[in-house]
């Protein structure tokens, strides 16, 4: 009998093999795993402490403060570590929201066709035409009405702005897949629309969805950093975007003592984004059985 578990295990070991063969993707994987671990267990070693220590303002890097301190005398490394949790959580939620909306709209549009498709695609185009970041700023500025947003709400806002491009891409994939002979054969075998959509069409989209998920993650990180660093969203805890906001507020660009405080979150963002992009290039091979060489 066929065991699903062993199939999943095989896929994991296979994925690992693919990564081992591609050093750049391996580097990406290491970076992302590093940041994930930092977000998961880092706060236990460097607990968040947002009290101000006026005496410790702008200390240079030292053994006690490896990345120095900020204008309020707080340790920068501690902020980076605690901030990574929000950054990754928002990114992951944004990715899920984006892919969910895009898949629902793209797949239903591609399969139902006709007037439904026309209407959905025109709506999608309207969203595409609106410039993404100003729209994001507008929604984020109007929606909260003075209160602090939860992580999920932030992700939802970013996801709502991000989905249209992905939805169109998914729709075109669905249009291509539904014309393939195996779909016609499935219809003759009386397999039913639900089976055809969820068992025949969507599994073929998986590599595509995963790659787009990683792209959505990078989009989610950029968008949240923009929202927080511009101070559009009120946020009391610490994250990378908020750090940039505070640094800019304290004119870090012209203050030679503050550069390390400004650059720490920026370097983290760049590293994490690079890691995500490097990983996505290896995923195509992991998820596409046609490219699989061994199992």
């Amino acid at each position: 009998m066929i065991s699903r578990k062993s199939g999943q295990f095989k896929r994991l070991t296979y994925a690992f093999k693919v990564f081992r063969r591609k050093p750049t993707s391996m580097a990406g994987l290491i970076i992302v795993v590093f940041f994930t671990l930092m977000a998961l267990i880092g706060p236990f070693f460097f607990p968040l402490d947002i009290r101000a220590y006026p005496a410790k303002r702008y200390l240079p890097p030292s053994w006690q403060h490896p990345l120095g301190t900020d204008p309020y005398g707080r340790d920068v490394l501690m902020q980076i570590i605690n901030g990574s949790r929000d950054a990754l959580l928002i990114a992951a939620l944004t990715g899920l929201v984006t892919i969910f909306i895009a898949t629902v709209i793209g797949v239903s549009s591609g399969i139902l066709g006709g007037l439904f498709d026309e209407v959905l695609m025109r709506i999608t185009e309207i969203f595409l035409i609106l410039p993404q970041y100003p729209l994001l700023l507008l929604i984020a500025a109007i929606l909260p009405a003075g209160r602090e947003l939860t992580l999920f709400e932030v992700s939802l806002i970013i996801g709502i702005v991000q989905w249209p491009g992905t939805a169109r891409a998914i729709r075109s994939q669905v249009l291509a897949i539904r014309e393939r002979p195996f779909i016609e054969a499935a219809r003759c075998l009386n397999l039913g629309s639900l089976h055809i959509i969820f068992r025949e069409i969507i599994p073929n989209l998986t590599p595509y969805l995963v790659m787009n998920f990683f792209l959505a993650l990078t989009g989610g990180i950029y968008s949240q950093v923009i929202l927080f660093s511009l101070g559009i969203l009120r946020f009391t805890s610490i994250n990378w975007g908020v750090m940039i906001n505070i640094a800019m507020g304290e004119s870090a660009l012209i203050n030679p003592k503050a550069w390390i405080y400004l650059f720490s979150p920026i370097v983290c963002i760049v590293l994490l984004q690079t890691g995500l992009v490097l990983i996505s290039s290896a995923l195509e091979e992991v998820f596409n059985p046609r490219l699989r060489t061994e199992e």
Binding site: I2, A185, A186, L189, H195, P203, P289, R292
Partner: protein, 334 residues
């Protein structure tokens, strides 16, 4: 005929509209007023050049496309006015085998994952375990042994010939009465083609279904019909030009188009092939379906065309134990 045919195509027309909003609209009559009958456990080879509408006709008979006019009767009932359960039953009874084995199987599902759900959903077997046993039998039947080796494989890890066998097994898995083999063996290597046809005929003996064997290759159609017996229908630009018992149409073709097609079959002896007279076609170009010639559609190319051929559409009439659509059929009778 006293017995009711399995499938009856009555004056079926299917049009496709190209262009529209910005470009000029063009209507293509892919299938133009076609009538054809397929009996129980009978073979019909549908032969024609590419783009003549033979695949469209095949899909119409499976209910994958809806005809613009005319009716398709399966076991005496119009398939487009069936009730839901009846249509589901028709679906199980009518299967398709496509030309390209590589795109006929879902690439991200294993053979078991692709072949088991139809069996379970259509209540051929009670559960996955029984489906596994049934598929082992089916795969052994199509010569894929040991079957366990193939059931857990992805399509990408099989050869074209093996995949075509899997597709044959899938097509017969629900015990259908009718199978459309749409260029089913054309993509296979020449050395495997006859074996695949033999397998199809062998399965026919076991399951007792009818084949609509669609092909552009009259050679393979001849092999199929002469080995398995059955009818040949020649199609040209959406219309049937000649149809009848296989041996009579193939041995003594009447319609000029069939005659020309017969000379395209390669003979085993290259000397014979080379020295055979080339038919005197007036034009080697196939007219486009958007601009079908007036009168007899074959007249711009026909070596024997006369004035009447340009003006009058020849009727498909009974002549010399077959149906033929040519004004001068008598002239070519043997």
């Amino acid at each position: 005929m006293s017995e009711e045919p399995l499938l009856k195509i009555v004056k079926v027309t299917k049009k496709f509209v190209k262009g529209g909003l910005l470009s000029p609209k063009k209507t293509v009559r892919a299938v133009d007023d076609v009538s054809l009958e397929i009996g129980r456990v009978e073979n019909v080879a549908l032969v024609g050049e590419s783009g003549c509408g033979k695949s469209t006709l095949g899909k119409l008979t499976l209910g994958l496309l809806k005809p613009d006019s005319g009716t398709i009767l399966f076991e005496g009932k119009d398939i487009w006015s069936l009730k839901k359960e009846e249509f589901a039953k028709f679906r199980r009874n009518a299967q398709i085998i496509h030309q390209d084995p590589y795109t006929s199987l879902n690439p991200v599902r294993t053979i078991f994952q692709s072949l088991a759900p139809p069996l379970i959903r259509n209540k051929e077997v009670p559960n996955r375990k029984a489906a596994y046993e049934r598929l082992r039998e089916l795969l052994t039947m199509v010569g894929l042994t040991p079957p366990e080796d193939f059931l857990n494989r992805y399509p990408a890890r099989m050869s074209g010939g093996q995949m075509q066998r899997i597709i044959l097994a899938r097509a017969v898995s629900l015990g259908p009465k009718y199978i459309v083999a749409d260029e089913a063996v054309s993509m296979l290597d020449a050395s495997l083609r006859l074996g695949a046809v033999d397998l199809m005929l062998e399965l026919q003996k076991k399951f007792g279904m009818s084949y609509l064997f669609i092909t552009h290759d009259l050679g393979i159609a001849r092999y199929f019909i002469l080995k398995g017996s059955g009818k040949v229908a020649m199609m040209y630009l959406g219309s049937i030009v000649e149809a009848g018992e296989g041996d009579s149409v193939i041995q003594r073709p009447i319609h000029p188009y069939t005659q020309v097609m017969m000379t395209a079959i390669s003979l085993p002896d290259p000397k014979l092939t080379r020295n055979r007279p080339i038919p005197n076609l007036r034009s080697l170009e196939v007219p486009r379906l958007e601009q079908v010639p007036s009168g007899c559609k074959f007249h711009p190319r026909c070596p024997y065309a006369e004035k009447v051929c340009e003006e009058k559409v020849p009727e498909l009439r009974s002549f010399d134990s077959r149906l033929v659509a040519c004004h001068f059929a008598e002239r070519f009778a043997h």
